[in-house]
Symmetry: C2
Subunit: 209 residues, 2 copies
């Protein structure tokens, strides 16, 4: 980026650059919803967003670059972390949020797109793992609060509990190729809760000191 | 397929057609291991297998077609289903088998390839979900035997328990982009076991009759 471009962005955070990016990322999600990752092309994103094709190629290079930027943008969005006072209810609420997200075709297509992009592009793979690590750290507060309340075995790995809530959704979407629904959310939350209480997410060194 | 080709295959199940297929599928796994799904081309598979490019295009059409056939072939392989006499140990043995498989670069690359292929090809998606459904049904015997021994709540969904053992591996590989290891196997097995005992995989209608 040139110094001019940098100062323009810094000076106008909600300005033309930000509006262009917002239009492009929205177009990416729209294209994913309609045509899937297999149909995601720079040409269609240009047409849908009204942004020049040359600008797209300069700033995002290719479809993987677009996916990386969508992931980065989503990674900075604030999401509510449930805080009901009970681990069981918090995990259930978290699972319902995930189910609600992936019941929407554009987010299902985004998951497929980001995983397919990660297979082809190390940058996309790094963005994907970073976004999920960040999300799981944030949601880990649910588990830390439960530990502070004495609901969990000492040393429970908070990120592992949160990953256990999420994993069944990606298995359903990517491997079983089925729909996510509230029954899956109920099972995922109940299974993660029971496993956490049993000490399954407590590292062996803590289990057997 | 012409009638001639059909009768040739039927007449010589271990003959030239079968040898060609075995050479091609082995070359696909080798290419996946070396170059990943992003580098899987008909040209490289032809070179590696020694099978004519025209034959590859005629029988498999494209890279997705190759992945579908590898999946189908793997789906018919016999795999040992643990039977130790204890659900806990059976699930642990199953998880170790999965971990051992995906510690091998060619099978990790196959998972990535099949998921990426499924995003682009409905035939690959159908093959993927069928192979896993078949595998999970077979491994479900572990859960059915445990139920017969009275180790589990009545009505436990056998396929859901097996899916719970597998899901963390695909989450680690595809989303977290990390290595699978025996620590993950231990956690996945222990979590699925605790969740099954708690009734998390018992349908609500059975839980609350």
């Amino acid at each position: 980026m040139s110094d001019d471009a940098r100062s323009e962005r810094a000076a106008r955070p909600g300005g033309r650059t930000a509006r262009t990016r917002a239009a492009v990322l929205d177009a990416v999600l729209g294209e994913l919803e309609e045509a899937g990752y297999g149909g995601l092309t720079m040409e269609r994103v240009a047409e849908r967003s009204g942004v020049h094709l040359a600008t797209l190629y300069r700033r995002w290079r290719n479809a993987e670059g677009l996916i990386v930027d969508v992931l980065g943008e989503i990674g900075t969005r604030e999401v509510p972390i449930p805080d009901t006072g009970s681990l069981k209810d918090d995990l259930r609420a978290l699972a319902s949020e995930i189910a609600g997200l992936y019941a929407r075709p554009r987010y299902r297509a985004l998951v497929e797109g980001m995983v397919a992009a990660a297979v082809r592009s190390p940058a996309a793979a790094a963005a994907l793992s970073e976004v999920f690590a960040g999300r799981n750290r944030l949601a880990g507060r649910i588990v830390e609060r439960a530990a502070e309340r004495g609901e969990l075995p000492p040393g429970t790995d908070a990120a592992a509990v949160i990953a256990a809530v999420g994993a069944p959704f990606y298995y359903r979407l990517l491997i079983q190729r089925g729909q996510v629904d509230d029954a899956l959310a109920a099972t995922a939350a109940a299974a993660a809760h029971a496993a956490a209480l049993s000490g399954a997410f407590t590292p062996p060194a803590v289990q057997d000191p």
